[in-house]
């Protein structure tokens, strides 16, 4: 990669096992087509992404299923992709606001790029990829 003389470092492969035991209902919910958030029983704050612990320092939370109606607040079409997304086609990432007031960042699919506008409506859906990865995305409302 370099025209100048170099020595090559030892190669190391890294992947992390990220614990999800405290937010397991969220990941299980995705399998059932539901998008869950947590709500603090003490201060009432609704959290998405879901958290086990509130910024008010209470850990007394309940699980709430979110509506799937979103208003797109902003978006971008990612053309130049990072190493682990090289196999994907260019993708659109958007931030949408749900009627509950929380915002969600996710891929926006099934629209032509020219159709996508700030302020438009989209539907938030849970998804399991063919490789089994649990995720969620904005898509065209029915």
């Amino acid at each position: 990669m370099s025209a100048m003389p170099t020595i090559r470092s030892r190669e190391m492969r890294v992947a992390h096992d990220i614990p999800i035991s405290k937010t397991l209902p969220f990941w299980e919910g995705l399998k059932q087509g539901k998008i869950l958030a947590t709500k603090c029983k003490k201060c009432g704050k609704l959290h998405f992404p879901p958290v086990a612990d509130c910024s008010c320092l209470s850990s007394d939370m309940e699980w709430i299923e979110l509506s799937n109606e979103a208003t797109i607040e902003t978006f971008t079409h990612v053309v130049v992709r990072p190493a682990t997304f090289q196999h994907e086609k260019p993708y659109t990432v958007a931030i949408g606001r749900l009627k509950e007031g929380v915002r969600v960042l996710a891929w926006l699919t099934n629209f032509k790029p020219s159709e996508i506008k700030v302020g438009m409506k989209a539907k938030l859906v849970a998804k399991q990829t063919p490789q089994g990865q649990l995720t969620y995305e904005f898509t065209r409302p029915e």
Binding site: M1, P49, T74, R81
Partner: protein, 390 residues
Amino acid sequence: MQKVAVIGVGNSKFGNRNDVNVQELAFEAVKQSIEDAGVSPTDIEFVAFGSAGAGAWYEESLPAVTISEYCGLTGAGLVRCEAACATGSAAFFTAYSAIASGYAEITAAIGVEKMRQIDTPTAMEFIGRSGYYTWEFHNFGLTFPAYYALHATAHMAKYGTTEEDLALVAVKNHKYASMNPVAHFQNKITVDDALSSMVIAWPLKLYDCCPITDGAASVILASEEKVKELKIDTPIWVAGIGYSSGTANLSKRLDYVGLEAAVQASRMAYKMAKITPDQVDFANVHDCFTIAEIMAYEDLGFCKKGEGAKLIREGQTEIGGKIPVNVDGGLKAKGHPIGATGCSMIYELTKQLREEAVEKSRQVPLKNYIGLAHNVGGTGHYCYVTILRR
């Protein structure tokens, strides 16, 4: 609090520096700054070192110790600071605080990044993971250009800012970089070059993005007493430092047309320096992407919210305008070696305030002898604003 001055600055050549390892690169800036201050390495009591990508885009995991040893600084108090792209300013604040608090008399802030020892998709991967990995990268592969593209889309929708406006920032910063021998890019570009360049993360194109750059910058600071003792000709005083932070998840921000952390950090810095934005003679702002410079004009109070594009269209941020911005080429064209950028901003402010910009053609006119550095980490995840005064 003790008064603190910048007494020495150094900046390596920025660019593709695969002629040197990280220690050798840091040495270039450290040596310059120590010689500029007229002290010796053993006079430095505390070193705040800044690098964001240690062990990731270059091989050393504890570069503070390898670089300290290499530069003759072993024995000084030592810490590595990380505030993403504001790492250099975090190091500067740490070195400043050591003196302001009365702990030390002479300190150093050293910022270094070596970003080009790995391939570009892997570099983009590391930077893309620098938001909230679990919620923004893991499933969605958000890259750093994409983070700022989300802001550009929102700013364009709300205020009518255009892709041409963004291109004007790139054209200006390339122009000044071509006058700055330490800059990564030495070429001028046109609006058409920028608009026709490849899309990276729409609406941002290649020329809207800063390059992946190797570089180092170093700053030596001293107490008022030491400034007198060392008979420093032109001490540049730290008049104000402000800081703030923003949520890790972009989805938790209230809007995407500015960076609240920058608004709060600048207010704090202006208050400490007892000045208003119109008293600032010139600024170095965090233009990692062209939209970031336009938002910075607004967040720092150089214009009203939503009028940033007007400022660049009117040429008000060129030398001769209302407030020259990034006349060293900025991150956009001087380059953005992540951990070095904050210290490199202090280097530029100091040179300008001493009226010794190497190239006279890009010396800014000084009325109040006040310069401002605005250094954002992540997408408004961290922000430091530093005001220097001669």
